[in-house]
């Protein structure tokens, strides 16, 4: 019985058109790579892909939340870097727990600041998070003075490089995060509020939803998850650098968009973002396996994104045409 419901839930989460489209995309990617790319479908590589997608997902979460709130968060990378370096500096001196706590706090704080300014001072998310990006990465670099901070205990590094059996730790962590978020997105009041505010802030307000608070929490969460991502990367690299998060926002946007999280707000799911992350990871992995020059990688990724998104349009056109012709045919029959 319980199991049935679970199934039903999963089914309904797939019924979300955006997410199902993402799944479809992923399927195609996967099949194509398996067929055409030598060594893609090997245990080693699949684990490798999963690990990398987990990392992409880890920093896409923040972006996804912001996008569900009809905004976006360009500061994820910078915030991750800032909390990463601060945490690393503590951890390298042996204060593991303290370091982690500080890292997460820094993440939350940055996110919260963005959230407050966005909701209270009505600054568009784009501007605010762009500013926050500059500020955070500035502070991060200023803190490291360009040096890289290293000498991190292996206990801490486990979260980045450790494994349980064959399964890499980041994958486990991100799966847990995914499950939690998917659950709360659907089942928690907060989750529903985020969707509502993103979908139509005005209506949400008329329904007695605390829009401003929801926004703040949303961006704070985005910051928090950026912090987590930062820690995971630090653990993985064994060192923290101020430039760590460069280029994350764009990758995250790619993941979210491929995962069917729309900029309109209130559309898409965290599962979607995860799927998107997988797509992105597969793309990079395949291109490296094929030894495609980085130059072409740039091009292809841009192209794929546009193409995937335009599928909907093409599909709708076809369907429309079919309907009409069918209808007309039946009418001629009746007439």
């Amino acid at each position: 019985m319980k199991f049935k419901n679970k199934l039903a839930q999963i089914a309904s989460s797939l019924r979300d058109t955006n997410t199902s489209r993402a799944l479809f995309t992923l399927l195609i990617f996967f099949v194509a790579s398996t067929i055409f790319v030598n060594r893609f479908f090997t245990l080693n590589n699949l684990i490798n892909v999963l690990r990398q997608s987990a990392l992409v997902f880890s920093f896409s979460i923040g972006m996804a939340i912001a996008m569900l709130l009809a905004g976006l968060d360009l500061s994820i990378g910078a915030v991750a870097a800032y909390s990463g370096v601060l945490a690393a500096s503590l951890i390298s001196n042996g204060y593991i727990v303290l370091g982690i706590i500080v890292g997460l706090l820094v993440g939350i704080t940055c996110g919260l600041i963005s959230g407050v300014i966005i909701s209270k001072y009505k600054v568009p998310p784009f501007i605010m998070t762009f500013g926050m990006m500059k500020i955070a990465s500035g502070l991060a670099l200023n803190f490291t003075k360009g040096e890289s901070i290293y000498g991190l205990s292996d206990k801490f590094r486990w979260i980045g490089v450790g494994t349980i059996g064959l399964i890499p730790a980041p994958l486990i962590i991100c799966t847990v995060l995914l499950i939690l978020l998917a659950y709360f997105g659907k089942r928690s009041v907060l989750g529903r509020r985020i969707y509502a505010v993103g979908s139509n802030r005005n209506a949400a307000r008329f329904s007695g939803i605390p829009c401003e608070r929801t926004l703040m929490i949303g961006y704070a969460l985005s910051g928090l998850f950026s912090g987590i991502a930062g820690l995971m990367f630090v653990a993985r690299l064994g060192s923290a650098e101020g430039i760590m998060g460069d280029g994350w926002p764009l990758q995250a946007i790619a993941a979210c968009v491929l995962g069917g999280v729309s900029f309109a707000g209130g559309e898409g799911t965290i599962q979607g973002a995860a799927i998107g992350a997988l797509c992105v990871a597969i793309m990079y992995n395949v291109l490296n396996l094929l030894g495609v020059s980085p130059s072409w990688q740039q091009f292809l990724i841009g192209f794929v994104i546009i193409f995937v998104i335009s599928i909907d349009f093409i599909k709708s056109q076809i369907i429309r045409k079919k309907n009409i012709s069918n209808k007309l045919r039946t009418m001629q029959k009746t007439a």
């Binding site: 600054v123 605010m128 926050m132 546009i306």
Partner: protein, 334 residues
Amino acid sequence: MGKKGKKLHLSGPAIILIVLVVVSSLFINSFIRIGNINNILRQASMLSLVAMGQCIVILLAGIDLSQGSVMGLTGVSTALILSKGVPLVPGIILGLAIAMFCGLINGYLISYVKIPQFVATFGMFGMALGVALVISDSRVIWGFPETVRVIHDGEILGISAPFVIVGIIYLIMFWLLKFTRFGTSIYAIGGNATAAELSGMPVKRNVMLSYGISGLLAGAAGIMLMARMNSARAIMGTGYEFEAIAAVILGGTNRLGGKGGAVETITGVLILAVVRNALNLIGVSVYLQMVAVGFVLIVVYIINQNKGSNPLRKWFPVKNKGLVSGTTGNGNGR
């Protein structure tokens, strides 16, 4: 938009700019030298072109992330063309054509294929950059005739070329926005797309064109950058798109479309340029420069919006629905 003359002198951003200039000339002895002013303006010239393009797109409540890589692409391809011995003018025209083409593709994807602007232009960002890297074999392109440098170093009647070029382009844009149907339509589309559509404006075409212009201007900037460095690389423009957006917003152009223009944009560009220059003159480390720029952006925006109109009218509409329905996006099924 015909006459907002009185609104212009002393718009929020203008005041801020003046304050900035006054303050820095008081506290930084080397700031107010002719040389330095000249310097600030020359540095701003590239950004001002890109920003103008971005401005038009933002007036449509859009965004163009591809500008940076389009700059690179144009620079590189023009460089290659010229080094193949093609004479200056045709070479440049070719380069601009490429830039415009990229822009038009953006426009097409957005207005006809209905891909969200963010996605479309982001995709184009990747594609243009990729092509640029490929054709340049990701090397620095150089060894084209020195004559190119007149674009940046030359002088016309004692005024250095970049100012003249930028000046002309801005005049054209001002005219285009305020005194042509195309211009009005851009404000209209930004303000209420459906209405524009229904009042017989070729909305899709104009949107496409606007992105074309955005690309074109980015290309122009790319060529100027190429001339400035007498060499070109694929990645030389990346980052400009964000700078441009920042500048446009700083200038007080409304993120949700319908408000702003050439004057606002140049103001924004100058604000950024002055801040940067001042910080360099004091010798503030690059990191803290980033921090400072971030702050300025946010703070200035907050100030603007308290002076100007509330850019979130989308979220808190005026009581007369008829008007807002368009801006809240037409999400109705049929």
